[in-house]
């Protein structure tokens, strides 16, 4: 559907949505948000892009395939849990860096885990949406 208005607006909306998605991800440990919601917002940005243009354009916009993103996300998530195993603690024992950062709070493996969630969710939603849109 070629709506001039939508296509124009999406140029501004896309960075805005992605910005908010990262914001939601990073802040999730302290305020409402987190990897899942962040991932959904990010993927809805790409979904909008898909609707405004088409799947090919949306795929080009994304540097990796959604499937890779899923794999990467899962690996990041499990890796965040394995760090503690290497140190002899049970799986998923949190490790923290105690210097606080603005917005994010402290850096730690749970945050890394949430990043994995974020990536997976983006990959999943985009896989589904792209496949469905290509059906049409």
């Amino acid at each position: 559907m070629d709506s001039l208005v939508l296509r124009t607006a999406i140029r501004y909306l896309l960075p805005l949505l992605l910005l908010f998605s990262v914001f939601a991800l990073l802040r999730g440990h302290n305020e409402p948000g987190g990897g899942f919601v962040g991932g959904l917002v990010a993927s809805s940005a790409f979904a909008l892009y898909t609707l405004a243009f088409d799947v090919q354009r949306a795929r080009q916009l994304l540097p990796v395939t959604p499937r890779r993103l899923i794999g990467l996300g899962l690996l990041v998530a499990v890796f965040s849990g394995l760090i503690s195993v290497l140190a002899g603690d049970p799986f998923m024992t949190a490790r923290w860096d105690n210097r606080p950062l603005p917005v994010v709070g402290k850096l730690g493996t749970p945050l890394l885990f949430d990043v994995g969630v974020y990536l997976t969710v983006v990959g999943v939603v985009l896989t589904i949406i792209f496949a469905l849109a290509e059906e049409e």
């Binding site: 302290n30 948000g33 809805s44 849990g81 885990f113 997976t120």
Partner: protein, 795 residues
């Protein structure tokens, strides 16, 4: 002994291989095993005759109290000798009889497995071990009966034998387990000591009934007898071995073995004598009416088994002695006669007695064997059959209860047995030479050597019965009676009422034989076997079973998803609802609602939108209403302090609506497909399920209790987990494993959607694409199982 039993299995497994390597000599090699076993068991005769018993026990499954325990006394030794001796004869015979059969190797396998199992059955000292071997005889019998597997009749007969004996076996299993529990021991050899306790137990009737069902089914007692004639579909060596000499006597063995524990009661006598007598008469009555040699022999076997059972029912030293004598005699003559029948079949191409006659010149040795064995069967002196019949008559004549009736029945059945013997032993060899499908010659050496040996034994033992009395019947009788017994056997007991009965029997038998055609016409009109025969019951039961199965399956697994869901929901409502009403405290459930205006408004919205979903006439309208419900639920989450939840719900709801829209508009428009009645029914079921859930919520919320793990999270979220959003901290830290599983679910769902949309069955594609795919499949480096095959039908 353990080796004796297990070696059979070991050798059996090599048989097909051996037959493949040495097609000519395998039979001769394999026979060495039964010969060796026979020799070994024969070597035990003197010691056992002196009253020593051998016991061996290897621990097998101690946690179930099962040992691989074997026990050799007079009874088991008698059986063991029959099994291994006749086994050798049959194996030799079969090597010629089935010489051209490509499956001979497998035949050896089954036969040796059977032999080993049978040995195991009679030697086992543990109730469960006995059962193990017992069942193995059933299954090897199944494979042997169905040996001519291309024929439907063979397969049906094999199945019938398996179901009848296997079914009996299962009843017996329950009986044996109960017996072990009541007696406090699983050892057969020590069971006799617990006889008092067993017979006094409340469970005694059940144990007795269950064990008898197993024994009767195996030993082809009325009303289970019908499987045996049908089992004649088996190759003749099998009939000779399993279905006359050994396996069918397993039930008899069991009765004998358990009589110290179970026997002697009114129930025992009533059941065992009654069934035995009925079987004896029925078998004999049906035997002489048959035209197929093997069926004549089969029915007469049934009759003989009836005699054995009857005698064990009567009990006591005399009857037991008689039983064991008949047992040995029958095994010898019946085995020989079956083999003769096989030879006739093999040489002439028919087993129909009406088509056989005058073969004595063509097949002199076979004829001689038939004559000897037939004479033993008819009870002519000086054959062992005569000795056996004498003690049999004596036992009925002197039976403690109903001697007259028993004796009369015994005579009746013996008369008919004489006729049957005539049909088998005289008719084919004497009289007019009949035209047969094949031109007859004398059977090869391997096919007459064995039968001749058996017939010879009938003569030898008839002349010298003390031999068998001392080494076999006496120790066996003592084993059965669990005490000493005075056992003698003589060929000529002197003139007495019993001898008179024997003569009468022979005379009547000869008469009936001569006038058999006239009598046959009369008997056929009566048609007892078919009309009253339980075989009809079997057929009906099988038919009924199949019909029941079909009916049930079509009823339950009918393909209607609605029906499945309705059933599941109804079951849930009934099960949970009943339990809630019966067991739970409902007092707090009824209370007045308390709410704020805006909450009420959301409730109204949800209810209205939910109703709208169910009533929507268009798909997308339903989706819009569904979205409303979702958004309103998210609002509820906000109002009750769950911002993360609300955020997620909003986001997911929107994406879900998006997906719905993407997908659902491709589905056809909503249509009302069900009748008003069905809709009402469904509504009632759905509403009752809803009401149940409402009730549960009310019950649970009536007593608000503070969750105890929540305070831990509140306490430690900031200090230990360094996060202020406790929900998120739970998700990524306290319960991060849940989230790991959750994203796995998402990943798989995505893979699934992708595959569903992109991987279509091949037929949906254009032919060129298919050809292209086939080409690429050929080029694949990886070996492909079904390159180019349609995944829809792949295996």
């Amino acid at each position: 002994m353990t080796i004796a039993v297990l070696s059979g299995f070991g050798v059996a497994l090599t048989a097909p291989w051996l037959q493949g390597r040495l097609p000519r000599r395998a039979g001769w090699l394999l026979i060495l095993l039964p010969l060796a076993l026979t020799a070994w068991f024969a070597a035990q005769l003197p010691r056992v005759a002196e009253g020593t018993t051998l016991a061996e026990s290897v621990s097998w499954i101690p946690s179930l109290g099962i040992d691989l325990a074997f026990y050799l006394d007079g009874l088991s030794l008698t059986f063991a000798l029959l099994i291994s001796g006749i086994g050798a004869v049959v194996l030799l015979y079969a090597s010629a009889y089935l010489a051209d059969d490509p499956l001979l190797g497998r035949f050896y396998l089954y036969l040796l497995v059977f032999m080993a199992s049978m040995l195991g059955t009679v030697l086992a000292d543990n109730l469960i071990t006995l059962f193990v071997f017992w069942e193995l005889t059933s299954i090897s019998s199944y494979l042997l009966i169905g040996f001519k597997h291309s024929y439907g009749t063979s397969r049906a007969a094999a199945l019938q034998a398996l179901l009848v004996t296997g079914g009996g076996g299962l009843a017996m299993l329950a009986g044996l387990v109960l017996l072990g529990q009541v007696a406090g021991t699983s050892n057969l050899s020590s069971l006799a000591a617990s006889g008092e306790r067993v017979r006094a137990s409340d469970l005694y009737p059940a144990i007795l009934g269950l064990v008898l069902v197993g024994a009767f089914a195996k030993s082809a007692q009325f009303p289970f007898h019908f499987w045996l004639p049908n089992a004649m579909e088996a190759p003749t060596p099998v009939s000779a071995y399993l279905h006359s000499a050994t396996m069918v006597k397993a039930g008899v063995y069991l009765l004998a073995r358990l009589s110290p524990a179970l026997g002697g009661t009114v129930e025992w006598q009533g059941l065992v004598i009654g069934v035995g007598a009925a079987t004896m008469v029925l078998g004999a009555y049906l035997a002489w009416q048959q035209v197929d040699l093997k069926r004549i022999l089969a029915y007469s076997t049934i009759s003989a088994l009836g005699i054995l059972v009857l005698l064990l029912g009567v009990g006591g030293a005399l009857a037991t002695k008689a039983a064991l004598t008949v047992l040995v005699a029958h095994s010898l003559y019946k085995g020989a006669l079956f083999l003769v029948a096989g030879a006739l079949d093999h040489e002439t191409g028919t087993r129909d007695v009406t088509q056989l006659g005058g073969l004595r010149r063509a097949m002199p040795i076979t004829g001689a064997v038939a004559l000897l064995a037939g004479a033993s069967m008819a009870g002519l002196p000086p054959l062992f059959g005569f000795v056996a019949k004498e003690v049999f008559y004596k036992a009925t004549y002197e039976a403690p209860d109903l001697p007259a009736l028993l004796t009369a029945l015994a005579v009746l059945s013996s008369v008919l047995t004489v006729v049957a013997a005539g049909l088998v032993a005289l008719k084919p060899f004497f009289g007019v030479r009949a035209h047969t499908p094949r031109h007859p010659h004398e059977a090869p050496l391997r096919m007459w050597l064995g039968p001749l040996f058996l017939a010879g034994l009938s003569v030898l033992l008839g002349v010298w019965p003390a031999l068998v009395a001392e080494y076999s019947v006496k120790p066996a009788t003592e084993a059965v009676l669990a005490g000493p017994a005075k056992v003698e056997l003589v060929l000529w007991p002197g003139v007495n009422p019993v001898l008179a009965l024997s003569l009468l029997t022979l005379a009547l038998g000869a008469g009936v034989y001569v006038f058999r055609h006239a009598l046959l016409a009369w008997a056929r009109r009566l048609d007892v076997g078919k009309r009253l025969g339980p075989e009809r019951g079997y057929g009906r039961a099988l038919d009924g079973l199949l019909r029941l199965a079909d009916w049930q399956t079509d009823l339950l697994q009918n393909g209607y998803l609605r029906f499945y869901l309705i059933t599941i929901v109804a079951v849930t409502v009934v099960l949970v609802g009943y339990t809630a009403l019966a067991e739970a405290d409902l007092s707090g459930a009824l209370r007045a609602p308390e709410m704020r205006v805006y909450e009420g408004a959301i409730a109204v919205v949800i209810l209205a939108a939910t109703y709208a979903v169910t009533r929507a006439h268009s798909r997308l309208a339903a989706v819009a209403a569904l979205g409303t419900v979702g958004y309103s639920v998210a609002l509820l989450y906000i109002l009750f302090g769950a911002p993360d939840l609300a955020m997620t719900q909003f986001a997911v709801e929107t994406l879900t609506v998006f997906l719905f829209v993407l997908v659902i508009y491709r589905l056809p428009r909503f249509a009302t497909l069900t009748s008003r009645m069905e809709r009402w029914r469904d509504a009632v079921i759905a509403l009752s399920a809803g009401a149940l859930m409402t009730l549960l919520v009310l019950i649970v919320t009536a007593d608000p209790s503070r969750a105890h793990v929540a305070s831990f999270f509140a306490e430690n979220s900031v200090t230990l987990a360094k996060g202020r959003n406790i929900v998120n901290v739970i998700l990524v830290d306290f319960r991060g494993l849940d989230t790991l599983g959750e994203i796995t679910v998402l990943a798989v769902a995505a893979a699934g959607v992708f595959a569903l949309l992109k991987l279509r069955p091949a037929q949906a594609r254009a032919p060129e694409a298919r050809a292209e795919r086939a080409r690429t499949a050929e080029l694949q480096a990886v070996p492909t199982a079904e390159a180019g095959a349609d995944p829809g039908s792949g295996d």
